[in-house]
């Protein structure tokens, strides 16, 4: 996984999560220990990018010039098939329960995950 640590948050086209080798818990917000059991024994893994839409909100009023250029943009919460929830962008017509797959796009000068309905 070298070079991918942090995934898209560090500019790599990947969704990365941690799996605890002690209790089996999975966490999306990376840290040096398992938030469920405290174990430092974690393995970093790459998610498939498949998931289900949990919630959506189309942003029509942004607060910075960089983000305003993208309005409207859809913020989505996706439950990944690996079992963790993540925030991302997505197609504006996504509905709760839709099966989705990820790609990556540029937003306000950064790489961000973007979900569209799975083919």
């Amino acid at each position: 996984m070298s070079g991918e640590s942090g995934g898209w948050t560090k500019g790599a086209e990947a969704i990365v999560y941690q799996s605890c080798n002690t209790c089996g818990a999975r966490q999306y917000f990376c840290r040096s220990f398992c938030a469920a059991c405290g174990s430092p024994d974690l393995t970093e893994k790459r998610a498939s990018g498949a998931g289900t839409v949990y919630a959506t909100s189309l942003v029509c009023r942004a607060a910075t010039p960089e983000t305003r250029a993208h309005v409207p943009y859809n913020i989505v919460l996706v439950d990944t098939e690996e079992g963790f929830r993540m925030m991302a962008h997505g197609d504006s017509d996504l509905a709760i329960g839709d099966r989705v797959a990820v790609r990556f796009t540029q937003f306000a000068g950064r790489l961000v995950p973007y979900f569209a309905r799975a083919k």
């Binding site: 917000f29 913020i75 929830r85």
Partner: protein, 378 residues
């Protein structure tokens, strides 16, 4: 035992030229006078924060400015729940005998002290700095996510949510200190500009200048005896990405703990003061707290249940949605109004019976919760 012995509240809206410290001072002056105390009798100070004038020691900055040398002072930060969290701490401080009179104060020139963009941007930072904020969400978007999910699970509609904005505006019309004085309809809410779908402009609280303060004391200082009967908190997450399922949010946990601590049941409550940053916040919290069944809060609004003359008068000053939201002071206005109602001083807004009140605050994205019961002691 602790009593809310004094309350103070400025009007909300624009206060051109006033700083956060000015607004805090104005509210504090009113609260201390209301308690019938002198400044020198205040020996504890709890204050919130100001996004316009951030400081690592706001309580002592305020104490020096106001002219008090307290035996206990610090700031508290739990977003929108800060006012009730400070009240809970003040209750325990006086109950434990640490101090006798605690001044709880919040105030901010959030409207005129910075641009709306700056306010929106500052508040969006409650999101995760690596995993959320780079995606450009705003506070309305965080709550918009919660709203779409809640509507999906419980069959709530945008028209249902609009009812809460209309009710809060109706209440604000009767309060001269409220930010908004024009009546609105469900159609107006539906036609207002989308901010973060499904939330539209009139589903969102405004940005305001204002200040609010209370004095929490070990003994009553007059025959207006309003007692903190019991309170509790719950903190389940910070970021909406890490929030538990809708059925496991902190409001239900906090109210259960507060009921346990006070021995009060929902059927005992005569007045409700519930955090209403957005219409969805109010709808969800009313249902989480047990003041309406799941998906039925809007129907109760339509039936007049939460109106001034209804069975459970709610936020009779107009709430955050229409009295205004100046940050920490925003939800403190709910407690000021509750106190006025409990002591028969609400004038043309007076309800029949506010002998037992439930107050609930929410900070972050339904992250931090404080539930509190106040009781009028005869």
């Amino acid at each position: 035992m602790s009593f809310v012995t004094g309350v103070g509240l400025t009007s909300y809206g624009k206060h051109d030229g006033l700083s956060s410290l000015d607004l805090m001072s104005n509210a504090a002056e009113l609260a201390i006078a209301d308690a019938g105390l002198k400044r020198s009798e205040i020996n504890g100070i709890l204050c919130g924060y100001s996004t316009v004038s951030p400081h690592i020691m706001l309580a002592t900055v305020f104490a020096e400015h106001f002219g008090i040398r307290p035996a206990y002072a610090h700031a508290v930060q739990v977003g929108g729940a800060t006012g009730l969290a400070m009240t809970m701490l003040a209750h325990h401080l006086v109950d434990a005998g640490v101090v006798r009179h605690v001044l709880v104060v919040g105030g901010e020139n959030r409207l005129t002290g910075q641009s709306r963009d700056a306010s929106i941007q500052a508040l969006a930072q409650v999101g995760h700095p690596d995993y959320e904020v780079p995606l450009g969400p705003t506070i309305p978007a965080y709550y918009g996510l919660v709203a779409t999910r809640y509507m999906h699970e419980y069959g709530v509609t945008q028209e249902d949510l609009a009812e809460f904005a209309v009710l809060m505006r109706k209440h604000a019309l009767t309060h001269p200190g409220a930010q908004f004085h024009e009546p609105i309809t469900v159609a107006d809410v539906m036609a207002s500009k989308p901010v973060a779908v499904p939330l539209k402009l009139l589903d969102c609280c405004p940005v305001s200048d204002g200040g609010a303060a209370f004095v929490i004391s070990r003994e009553a200082t007059s025959d207006r005896r309003v007692r903190v009967r019991g309170c509790a908190q719950a903190h389940t997450h910070q970021h909406v990405t890490a929030a538990p399922a809708l059925s496991e949010l902190g409001a239900e946990i906090a109210i259960a703990r507060a009921k346990q601590a006070s021995g009060i049941a929902i059927s005992d409550i005569r007045y409700a003061a519930v955090y209403d940053s957005f219409t969805i916040t109010l709808a969800m919290l009313l249902e989480d707290l047990g003041l309406a069944k799941r998906g039925e809060a809007a129907a109760r609004v339509r039936a007049g249940h939460f109106s001034r003359n209804g069975a459970m008068p709610l936020n009779t000053h107009g709430g955050l949605l229409s009295y205004g939201h100046c940050g920490v002071g925003g939800a403190m206005a709910h407690l000021v109004e509750t106190h006025l109602q409990m002591t028969g001083r609400a004038g043309n807004r007076q309800v029949r019976d506010a002998s037992v009140a439930l107050l609930h605050g929410d900070g972050g994205v339904l992250s931090s919760h404080v539930s509190m019961f106040l009781e009028r002691v005869r």
